[in-house]
Symmetry: C2
Subunit: 203 residues, 2 copies
């Protein structure tokens, strides 16, 4: 619809997730009107990301150094490991301020149809961490925080099977149920069913 680099830019932006043709056009024309230095900053960080982002050697989260800030923080509880699929899940849990242990990023979830088995995930690294005594502390809880969908549930089931026979280790799973601030009437059957089976005694 447009000519030259403007259309090329709209096409490239339109390949990004969640950006439709209208948003791509809006962003492209915005970029036509900004200072060249603003575009330079964007291309510079894109180049850095392309040249490789580092991952923490302990937990697999994105990191600036060999160890991420969480794994390098001596105030974090070494006895608890929270297992998540992706680095963005770490960010989501950190925002809750509910967890003071450390993380383990699997790098995805089991999905045999896409060829993703335990070998493609950082499962071996997790078993090594759980087996090790770190600074005189044994890991005593693994909290499985994979997504509450088919792949995430399958991954959780698999991890429980791998971990359940380790003495002194409790393996837990994040609660499923009604989202806070939601409306019972609008909950899907699966969520409402989980909320029932997971009901807690109040008195």
């Amino acid at each position: 619809m447009f000519e030259g680099p403007v259309q090329d830019l709209i096409d490239e932006l339109g390949k990004l997730p969640g950006i439709g043709p209208k948003s791509a056009q809006r962003i492209a024309f915005h970029l036509l009107s900004v200072e060249p230095s603003d575009i330079d900053r964007l291309t510079a960080v894109l180049a850095k990301v392309r040249d490789g982002v580092r991952f923490c050697e302990v937990c697999g989260n994105v990191s600036d150094a060999e160890r991420c800030r969480i794994c390098a923080d001596s105030r974090r509880d070494l006895a608890q490991i929270c297992v998540v699929e992706e680095p963005k899940d770490v960010a989501a849990i950190e925002r809750t301020r509910e967890f003071r242990g450390r993380y383990h990023v699997l790098g995805g979830a089991l999905d045999p149809l896409s060829g993703i088995g335990p070998e493609q995930l950082r499962v071996r690294e997790l078993l090594n961490r759980v087996g090790e005594r770190i600074d005189g502390v044994d890991v005593n809880e693994v909290i499985i925080a994979t997504d509450p969908n088919t792949e995430g549930e399958a991954t959780a089931t698999y991890l429980v099977r791998m971990l359940r026979d380790i003495p002194g280790l409790s393996v837990t799973r994040l609660a499923s149920g009604l989202p806070m601030g939601g409306d019972l009437e609008f909950a899907d059957e699966l969520t409402l069913g989980r909320a029932f089976t997971g009901r807690r005694a109040m008195a």
Copy 2:
């Protein structure tokens, strides 16, 4: 929340229009997983846009050459000029396939509070085009297609004042009224009022 270039990328993406923190994060992690060549293509078009996009010397639309494809197309009607605010408005009207004339892109709308007067828009160029006889053809209609909002209406009023005394020229404005596929009940008062004053005889 993240470390290093990933967070920098999220920050830069979050400055783009219509991209909130969640979308920025989603796009950044998408870019972590694509081929380096995909990122190279994006940075290459960004660099091209930064180094300057050309504008058609006739109509002011974005262009690959001195004249855009529409102005260079001899099958387009030279007698009609449709005046729009921005290049994206040209794209929107072209999609309707209702107009076979040529365009004039003002580069914005009058907005005295932001310091945008007639001098900041391509108004003089429009008057020159209307005054010229091109390839033996006089311009006989100027269709004003500025946005139906305060600035666009003010611009339309101003252009009508500049153009109305030119002999043999009709100046028209796109119809305002109820959007097609919409619901009368949900139309705002201004739109419904315009639909009334602009009502057409059916029989």
